[in-house]
């Protein structure tokens, strides 16, 4: 389950002397990763959290984020809710930390995409309810192109607009 292969695992479980559960043996796994996952799944299931956070100062409405490590499954929803107060402001690079030690769980919140300054618009337009961005609105923002836009693709004031001739 740690990978798309999706091996069906069988895990022998025993009550641990100190309370809780203990994994004795894992079968059906194709690799070490599967064994680790099988053990963790019966003792202390953990998940990464992926979500998005609000943005300010850019035309993009959300920035995708994830936790730097896994959090206990039982606290996943709580962790997701805690993102409501996080706001991302450009410029921001993929991998940059937005919040440290989320809920004291020992994991950071990191951006999973760049947030470019070039896409910036007045803050008013980025407020919720400002409406879905029109495709045309972006044409005036050449910085939205991540890969170098081809020569001539960037609109400039003096460039003639070519249409059907």
């Amino acid at each position: 389950m740690a990978c798309p292969r999706g091996c069906a695992l069988e895990v022998d479980v025993a009550e641990a002397p100190a309370g809780g559960r203990e994994a004795l043996a894992v079968r059906g796994n194709a690799c070490k990763r599967g064994e680790d996952y099988g053990r963790a799944e019966v003792v202390d299931p953990r998940r990464s959290l992926t979500s998005t956070v609000r943005t300010e100062g850019t035309r993009r409405r959300r920035l995708p984020v994830r936790t730097s490590g896994t959090v206990p499954l039982g606290r996943l929803v709580e962790a997701a809710r805690s993102l409501d107060s996080v706001v991302a402001r450009p410029p921001m690079k993929c991998g940059q930390v937005l919040a440290r030690d989320l809920l004291g769980l020992g994991v950071d919140l990191v951006a999973t995409d760049d947030l470019e300054e070039e896409g910036a618009v007045p803050a008013a337009a980025a407020k919720p309810g400002a409406g879905v961005a029109k495709p045309g609105a972006a044409a005036a923002k050449p910085g939205a192109a991540a890969v170098k836009p081809a020569a001539g693709a960037q609109p400039s004031a003096g460039a003639p607009r070519r249409g059907r001739s």
């Binding site: 993929c94 044409a139 890969v147 607009r161």
Partner: protein
């Protein structure tokens, strides 16, 4: 006069397939242009904020936007250029002399099973491909290239393609649209959702909507088993206590302006709703995850023949279609379950597209296409041809058409013109096969004997192996 630019390779679509194709073509020395209709590169990965991407390609678990970012950075480093917010209106082939080729693809560009002269703009070969494009800043313009890579991805099936009675009020949306609204626009589509279909996007959206505060009443699947990957059933439904109702479907939608409820019913072995099993479920949102279909409008306009089992064009191991210079990759070819494989097929197509554009007719031997014949037990196998003139490993993907829990063995044989076996190419055992989980194999073209006319795939079930 319409402005025209010339490139070695033009890639249609800037998602994981197109970017990989562009990177590979640029690495092979080609001048590459990516045409993308959206304002940012990355394709559907921009809205796939969940992780699980890149384990095969990069050896680590990445979120969709992170995976896309890796390829955007690679493309930038290789000097790939892009035209964003640009739509391709039409694609045509020009005659060798530069005259327009009568609107449709010229017959001269068509390869046959026996192979045909591969040319790139020479007097004898087919002329270049010309894309008529439209963008806000440039208006109408043309791009001319000897090689075109179609990386246009796939579309979702909608409520029009599944049989549901009742009203069509607001609140019915595809899983991909729900994903766009939540992950890109930051808007929740409703308060209480029913998900129809257990495809991966539906499962992932059940989790997303739950984490964002919606109640997901349940996921309903017509078939007797989930359509998505096992890990998604576990981590998207079971983790959150969302029930999965198998052999159950939505038969009717209720509500005048907004969805108020749906009727669900159990289905029999033929997928027909059974009388007396109907149940009314209150909800304000119906999310549809009922399948994906390759986007093949451009392919059809070029006259490419489609494989009815994949709904995408027929190609060889380099994504080369029967139309000279037209390559197809990623979800435009067949719907993949991993972005990693989408990129892999993109890279193969990009390399071959660059080779054709740069080398011209002289460097390429005649194509010798051996059809891949997938026997009973297969949903499909891709590619549909192996070009025996193209050296190196050929990567093939297949899906079984039923769940084989007891396992199965794949046997690939080379056959002569009369159907006689000329060589055993591959034997591979699988502990289990499921239709949602695509399998990948490699066959070394050098291992295929001379005189081979086709390659046959057979699936032997484990039960029959014992007997």
């Amino acid at each position: 006069m319409i402005e025209r630019e010339r490139r070695d390779v033009v890639v249609l679509g800037g998602g994981p397939a197109g970017l990989a194709a562009a990177v590979a073509a640029a690495e092979a020395g080609a001048d590459v242009l990516v045409v993308e209709r959206e304002e940012r590169l990355g394709g559907i990965l921009k809205q796939c904020v969940h992780d699980g991407f890149g384990l095969v390609r990069f050896g680590e678990q990445l979120a969709g936007p992170e995976y896309a970012r890796r390829y955007v950075d690679l493309a930038e480093a290789r000097g790939v250029e892009s035209r964003l917010e640009t739509f391709v209106h039409s694609v045509r082939r020009e005659g060798p002399g530069g005259a327009a080729g009568g609107g449709g693809p010229a017959g001269a560009g068509r390869a046959t099973d026996q192979g045909s002269a591969a040319g790139s703009g020479g007097a004898a070969g087919p002329g270049p491909l010309v894309l008529t494009c439209v963008s806000q800043d440039r208006g109408v313009f043309e791009i001319e290239a000897p090689s075109l890579v179609l990386a246009t991805g796939c579309r979702e099936r909608t409520d029009r393609q599944v049989f549901i009675h009742g009203e069509r009020p607001a609140g019915i949306l595809t899983a991909g649209l729900a994903q766009y609204l939540v992950n890109v626009e930051g808007l929740l589509p409703g308060k209480r959702a029913v998900v129809l279909g257990s495809g991966d996007i539906g499962l992932i959206m059940a989790r997303r909507l739950t984490l964002e505060g919606m109640e997901v009443e349940g996921v309903y699947e017509l078939k007797g088993e989930p359509s998505g990957l096992s890990r998604n059933v576990r981590q998207c439904l079971e983790d959150f206590g969302i029930p999965l109702h198998l052999s159950t479907t939505v038969t009717e939608v209720h509500g005048k302006r907004r969805v108020e409820a749906v009727t669900v019913a159990s289905v029999d072995a033929r997928g027909q709703a059974m009388a007396g099993t109907e149940r009314r479920v209150a909800c304000d949102t119906l999310v549809l995850s009922v399948g994906l279909i390759p986007e093949d409008e451009t392919a059809l306009s070029l006259g490419l023949d489609l494989d009815p089992s994949t709904r995408g064009p027929r190609v060889d191991q380099a994504g080369a279609s029967r139309e000279e210079g037209v390559f197809v990759c990623g979800n435009a070819l067949h719907v993949n379950d991993l972005a990693d494989y989408v990129s892999e097929s993109g890279a193969a197509a990009g390399r071959a597209a660059a080779e054709r554009a740069l080398g011209g007719a002289a460097s390429r031997p005649e194509r010798r296409l051996a059809p891949v014949k997938a026997g009973p037990g297969f949903l499909y196998a891709v590619p549909q041809y192996i070009d025996l003139s193209r050296p190196g490993p050929a990567v093939l993907y297949f899906r079984s058409n039923a769940t084989l829990r007891e396992g199965a063995r794949l046997v690939a044989r080379a056959l002569g013109p009369g159907g006689e076996e000329t060589g055993l190419l591959l034997k591979k055992s699988y502990a289990a096969l499921r239709p949602p989980e695509m399998e990948r194999i490699e066959i070394d073209v050098a291992s295929i004997p001379e005189g081979t006319a086709s390659v046959a795939f057979e699936l032997e079930r484990k039960e029959s192996l014992r007997g």
